[in-house]
Amino acid sequence: MSASQRDVKTRIGSVKNIQKITRAMEMVAAARLRRAEQRIAALRPYAGAIRRMTQQAAEAAGSSEVSGLPILSEHDSENNVALLLVTGDRGLAGAFNSQIVRAGLRAGRDAESSGQGVRYSAVGRRGVSTLNFRDKDPDGRYVGFTDRPSYADARAIAEDLMAAYIDGKADRVEIFYNGYISPLTQEVRRETLLPLQQATILESDDEDEQDGDTKPSRALVDYEPDAKEILAKLVPDYVEISVYRALLESTASEHGARMTAMRNASENAGELIEDLTLEMNRARQAEITQEIMEVVAGAESLT
């Protein structure tokens, strides 16, 4: 075997190894994607129950109470904007992380050019390290859970953002995340978290209207402490749920994006292996032909 054949053979070996890794990563991502989808589904009943309770409490407290809550009231001027970028802890997922960071930084530049102060926060090591690299010095750095975000993680983030809003450090809070549409499709979503829109709370969504049998009964209901106090706790829950849903969708999107990226990588590796095998066979055939020619030429010279 000639030296060039041996080279090609080693390359085939290493490409095959890479293909094994990308295949394994694809399968792991597919399994995690399924789990992430289940977690999105598990949140729905809770969010629905919170919505029904809010409507009940708002009815009892009177709608004027709702608009008085600090996270619902808009600040007089928008001097400071807080941006939360939801990325993943790990890379190798195609454009998943970079498209969020790009959209967030663009929004930040737009706000700065209109004279507003911008504070960044990031979820996921990728986002945090990019912001650090760009000297943006993120306020909040939330890392280590993007594979499997818990509600407590979302609560910590939401409470930080709400505290910044209520204490006047930010006049508007926006979130950037990868919305999950299907395993193959994710889209960058930009949503305003704070001030919370009153319409979001008091309008019932379509899912609720379908099950008419859960209408609150008109019976006399006891409130502990009172409806107003309960409402004051329920409304911030919307922000927590929004953040939690964004984290879950981002996790599902990350696994979907990684699955697609790894499938493409495996396919590319397959093509590369085919090309290299062809090259190796050609080299081997050339060598054999060469040897036959030499034998024939040698035999001819003897006669």
Binding site: R39, A42, L43, P45, Y46, A47, A49, I50, M53, Q56, A57, P70, S150, Y151, A152, A154, R155, E159, M162, A163, I166, D167, P216, S217, A219, L220, V221, D222, Y223, E224, P225, A227, E229, I230, K233, L234, E240, I241, Y244
Partner: protein, 137 residues
Amino acid sequence: MARTPFRVEVLTPEGLVFDDEVGMVSTRTEIGSIGIMARHQPLLGRVVPTELRLYKSESDIVRFAQGEGYVQVSEDGVLVLVEEAQTPGDLDVADLKEKLRKAEDDYAAAEENTEQQRRAGRDKRRWEAFLEIAEGA
């Protein structure tokens, strides 16, 4: 005396953790401890971190460490809606002590009468309650 059973659901953002018939529910609202039995008056209450006890019978009690949330009593039964519900055996004392220490530090560091301080106060209360449950378990 056997109690009339009624349906109780414990729902968290991460899914349904309990759905069964029980004789009594014991929890704590903003106002104080509360025991709910069958045919309780309709109620909507804000619950605070404590040990949630679901009495399937006098001796068979299901326990959870509950976070902040709500309890709703209606004709259909009782719905306990909490941010988290962990079985006491899953609690990690060392981890909780660490979290409590951090919440206390945050509380001390935060400026007086800010949302940041109230938030640290809530964290403190939660980890204190969980620690008590964990040490009792």
